[in-house]
């Protein structure tokens, strides 16, 4: 398991950090599709729920010396009946809260998820709001149910990053994740509440024999 922020200097001064990112939002707004686009650059119109793929990683190079690795937790459908476990929010460094710009009610739901994040997650979590299915209104402007300005206004007030995206055409998807990466505290002594350094616990795999990581045991 690697859900720890790992930060490390490499010879030559390059930086590498790892962060846990969670997705939230109403069912069917396109959370899994955004992840699939970001991680595999794929899209599937008829994909039902994401079976067996709710834990993905993707790396972004911000510049020649700085890489950010996202460890992405999809909801695995547990948002459908509001049954996400506290474990999901635990130690999340950043979140993408998604709504569907063609569904009027989905922005209100997104706002409720932002509240839930503020209640359950780290206080300094970085949140991005994504209005997804932009391709639908590019094709047919009548389909827009949520004006860009409304969502933008809300995002500004709540201190969220904001993008309108399309998992289908990939518009703004990379931009969304890059903006998050840029906002994350990449330097040592970054956010409080986040355990840094290699995993401190024991490795349960049968082949693993010794106990703790280099900086590990504080006993």
């Amino acid at each position: 398991m690697a859900s720890r922020v790992q930060q490390g200097g490499r010879p030559g001064g390059s930086r590498f950090s790892q962060f846990k990112l969670v997705l939230l939002g109403e069912s069917a707004v396109g959370k899994s599709s955004l992840v699939l686009r970001f991680v595999k650059d794929q899209f599937d119109d008829y994909r039902e729920s994401t079976i067996g793929a709710a834990f993905l990683t993707q790396t972004i190079a911000l510049d020649e010396t700085t890489t950010v690795k996202f460890e992405i937790w999809d909801t695995a459908g547990q948002e459908r009946y509001k049954s996400l476990a506290p474990m999901y929010y635990r130690n999340a460094n950043c979140a993408v809260v998604v709504y569907d710009i063609s569904q009027a009610s989905s922005l209100d739901k997104a706002k409720a998820w932002v509240k839930e994040l503020q209640r359950q997650a780290n206080e300094n979590i970085i949140i991005a709001l994504a209005g997804n299915k932009l391709d639908l209104v590019t094709e047919n402007p009548d389909k827009r149910a949520i004006p860009t300005a409304d969502a933008e206004q809300y995002a500004k007030e709540a201190g969220l990053l904001f993008f309108e995206t399309s998992a289908k055409t990939s518009e703004n998807v990379k931009e969304l994740f890059t903006a998050i990466a840029k906002k994350l505290p990449l330097d040592q002594g970054g956010p409080r509440n986040i355990r840094s350094g290699p995993r401190q616990g024991v490795d349960l795999r049968p082949e693993a024999s010794s106990t703790v990581g280099a900086s590990g045991c504080n006993c």
Binding site: M1, S3, A54, T57, G77, Y81, M87, V202, R205, C219
Partner: protein, 468 residues
């Protein structure tokens, strides 16, 4: 709110560890699972809760008081309701690794395993020796007894069923443990700590039961091998508390298509030809206006914890449990941040052992400077339960808060479930580890599926992590 599917292979009621492991395993094996809990949180009886919720559960404070406020941020507390630890080489660890649920969790060692010898002011607390070398250094035995104990532990360590030379002339599958102890000439007090703090028997019934020698030796080997794994104790524990375990398995189930509904009451169980055929239920959040979402769905089988079928279970024992908050480590335990301390029954004139499990801020279950100690045993009388736990409290020193309710009934199902396809789990028992829980998981799987649960290789060919 989306409609619930019209039919499931399996409906699971309750999100305790047993139910969540089964739900996860069944989903991985391709079953369509609907998993329901009447509560607003995961874990049922096996949850970990914060200190405000704990005070509210036990109600031990006056009107208008908010005693949890002096204990820092309530969410820094994750207090287990069931005091158990994982054996490092045990079956739950095996299931966690085989299903990759380890991905969502982080484990730490429990720092020490201790046993009490004697009673009252003369009680000694000492580390449980786990190999021949430790036996020789242990204060639990005199000089000659140490050598006998070393010989015994060497025999256990080298015992191989297929190698008669390692049997020392004993037929373990036939003889009693008494005969084995006699053969090595072990004293009563040594038998006590071996049987209770290594083989982890809660009573002395194992000693004279024919055929128990083999199991006893296997249990001691599990203890010794678990101990050898990480070095300090045979036990490991998940950061943020045991409540993380059911959540991890629920996530596994969801990833493989399982549907999760908390806050959902079962209104009716439907039957056809004496077999379960479906459920009627209502999902409604606490405080939510209106009637909630009523639905009905078909299912072939139900797996449930005992609280969902009070008419199909019986009480087998009563568990006594006190959750204690301390602001100091437990005396005579090398200032360990976590430990298990077993008080074998005969040392304090009882029939059942008293267990103490201690965890602390090292496991992210409380703020720095605090320790959570849970004292538990099986009730032997119908009153004065506090006195039954007293030898345990005596070990703890000053106690900041003590949470102790009435004796907790432990249930088991009346029937196997093959007649009505309703498979009911057992309550979490008084043992200090999860080995009996995984026995129950295997048993339910066998009853429900008619075959053994095989977890090894479950994840083979299942690629949960994308390549980078």
């Amino acid at each position: 709110m989306e409609d619930v599917a019209p039919e499931y292979d399996l409906v699971v009621l309750g999100t305790g560890l047993t139910e969540c492991v089964l739900s996860g395993v069944m989903s991985v094996k391709g079953k369509k699972v609907l998993h329901i809990d009447r509560n607003d949180h995961y874990g049922g009886e096996a949850a970990s809760i914060n200190i405000e919720a704990l005070f509210k559960k036990y109600g031990n404070y006056g009107p208008g008081e908010e005693p949890w406020k002096k204990y820092g941020r309530v969410n820094d507390w994750n207090i287990d309701l069931v005091p158990k630890l994982l054996m490092a080489n045990g079956e739950l660890t095996n299931i966690l690794v085989s299903t990759d649920v380890t991905r969502y969790l982080e484990f730490k060692q429990i720092a020490g395993s201790y046993v009490q010898q004697g009673n009252g002011p003369k009680a000694t607390v000492a580390k449980v020796p786990s190999d021949a070398g430790e036996a020789l250094r242990s204060p639990l035995m005199g000089i000659f007894e140490k050598r006998r104990a070393r010989n015994f532990l060497e025999f256990v360590g080298s015992f191989k069923q297929e190698d008669p030379a390692s049997h020392k002339g004993l037929n373990l599958s036939k003889c009693t443990m008494k005969e084995v102890y006699d053969k090595f000439g072990l004293e009563a007090s040594t038998r006590d700590f071996i049987g209770h703090s290594m083989a982890l028997f809660q009573t002395d019934e194992y000693i004279n039961a024919p055929g128990m020698a083999q199991e006893t030796v296997e249990r001691i080997r599990l203890y010794v091998n678990s101990m050898a794994r990480y070095g300090k104790s045979p036990y490991i524990y998940p950061l943020y508390g045991l409540g993380e375990l059911p959540q991890g398995f629920a996530r596994l189930s969801a990833i493989y298509g399982g549907t999760y509904m908390l806050n959902t009451d079962i209104d009716e169980i439907l039957y056809e030809n004496n077999k379960v055929s479906g459920i009627k239920a209502t999902m409604k959040e606490r405080g939510e206006p209106g009637d909630g979402m009523k639905f009905q769905t078909k299912c072939k089988k139900i797996i449930a914890d005992p609280s969902y079928f009070p008419g199909k279970v019986q009480v087998v024992d009563h568990l006594l449990k006190a959750i204690c908050i301390l602001n100091h480590p437990v005396a005579n335990t090398d200032n360990s941040d976590s430990l298990q301390l077993i008080i074998p029954q005969s040392q304090v004139g009882r029939k059942h052992d008293i267990y103490i499990a201690v965890v602390s801020s090292a496991h992210n279950v409380c703020p720095k400077g605090y320790y959570i100690a849970i004292v538990s045993t099986i009730a032997e009388g119908s009153s004065n339960h506090h006195l039954e736990l007293q030898p345990g409290f005596d070990r703890l020193g000053r106690i900041e808060e003590k949470f102790m309710g009435p004796a907790i009934p432990l249930y088991e199902p009346l029937e196997s479930g093959v007649n009505d396809n309703i498979f009911i789990s057992r309550s979490y028992d008084a043992t200090s580890h999860f080995e009996t829980t995984t026995d129950d998981i295997r048993d339910i799987y066998r009853r429900a599926e008619g075959q053994e649960l095989v977890v090894e290789g479950l994840r083979d060919g299942q690629n949960l992590v994308a390549e980078e």
